[in-house]
Amino acid sequence: MKYLIVGNGIAACGAVEGIRSKDKEGGITIIDGEKRGAYTRPLISYYLSDPHLYRDINYRSLDFFREQQVKLIPARALHLDPALKRLTLDDGRQLSYDKLLLATGSTPVQLPIPGAEQAWVKNFYTLQEAEEIQDELEKVQEVVVVGSGLIGMKAAEALSKRGCSIHLLEKESQLLPRQLSPGAARLLQDYLSRQGWDIILGEELTLIHPDHKVELNSHRLIPADLVIIAAGTRPQIELAQEAQVKVNRGIVVDSYFRTSDDNIYAAGDVAETLNIVSGKHEVMALLPHAHQEGYLAGCNMAGCNYPDTGNILMNSLSLLSWKICSAGALEGQGLEFLSWCRKEQLLELMIKDNYLQGYIAINIPEITGPLTNTIRHKISIPASKWEEFIAEGPALKHIPLTYWQELRRIESYGSN
């Protein structure tokens, strides 16, 4: 069996582990488009905050690939021909396969802003971009970060740790619009403002002047030695599209991660998988999902039939000294909200018909595991039990008993 994996990121590593759990012999080749080895993308902000401490941000080392007998090819895949089962690389090489995995991840969305082509306007998505910023940092004081999603926040954090002045621009009326409620976002905003961040909400960037200034739609001008555009990401579906593999926003896969072509699989940021809360197939660009999906896809490419049971949106963001966890659906019809707040701690629960649908937990991470899994496993617990949980002061020991009982019934975590 010849396995070919396009992209050398998180899902690719999961796939190697999945394939090798079943097939020790088959040849595995990975096309490493970034030519940087399998590094941990979320750690680029840690690298930027302290390049010495985080000089090694490998997700899996070269030893790992050697032990797993994986051949790495530093090149980009240009063209996929499913009929001939052939992949063409940018160095002209052609490779054949029996099973192919598209693990090509996401890429930043570009904003059509005049001036965005200048060298001091950057995305923050690859190690190379982080290194370029690091190389220029001596000349940088004023930084404008466009977008207060997770990536923008982590970029801003790293640069503030390096002593830069942060201007954080968000076109919505709150920070982290996809991760936080307005109330939770205000709490975070107060904290970041106290740390000296200049937070600008409800405004968009309209122009980047060559003389190191950016202009907003209110015509306000902000000085900028560096602009970071973090306005969202989109799946890299071009190879699939061109090969006539079925795509929506991401690549369409069945519950075994097979695409519309039987020999082509897709996993990670690039694939649309089941969101348990919404019941729809969506792009959920998150690292834990990428590893798990890659693992299952790898097992299935090697002959297993392990179905995906779906996932939920979830994120744990550590920002300066704050810990911000959120998961599931934060808004929607018929949701009942419970909330608890004490100084810099906050908990909000979103419940619908005895089912926890989402939560936001600021600076209270120790209770979040059971909350995430109540949503993930659709464990039915009435709102009144959650009211008691909150009234007693949210703590692990007060998680409703039903949760632990149900958990015992859930086989999948098993043990070895």
């Binding site: 941000i57 834990p288 120790e366 979040t368 059971p370 692990l396 098993g414 043990s415």
Partner: protein
Amino acid sequence: MKVIAIPEYCLGCALCEIYCAAEHDGYQGQVLKAFKKGQPEPRSLLLVNGPVSRLNTCRHCDDAPCLHGCISGAIKRDEEGIIHIDEQRCVLCYTCVMLCPYGHVHPSARSGRIIKCDLCRDSEGLPACVRHCPNGALKLCSGREEV
């Protein structure tokens, strides 16, 4: 392999926590040294709710959410199936914490660093909690055995 807690036998004395902390961070099981002079950090915590108590242990899951989720590659599984943390690599993102169904892997109340049960893989014999529970409420089991 995992340690199973039997709530019916547990008296809530918390000796498991004490011996767990003393088995780690180089205290080599010396309880007095750990608690009088050191910074003890138990890996598993006793959950006490009214009369019911049990040690909240790690299941060393087959399909371990913490392992899939670790954003730095710090969480690993060894040859014996023990899920453990390479603290040098941990960046304190707390993703594992929000994924663990048992609320087991957690930030230490003392230092904020992420800690979990490693079945005392660096010492000989049974895990310290099992060895020291006076009531037989903790048991090391392998396979899919559940209590």
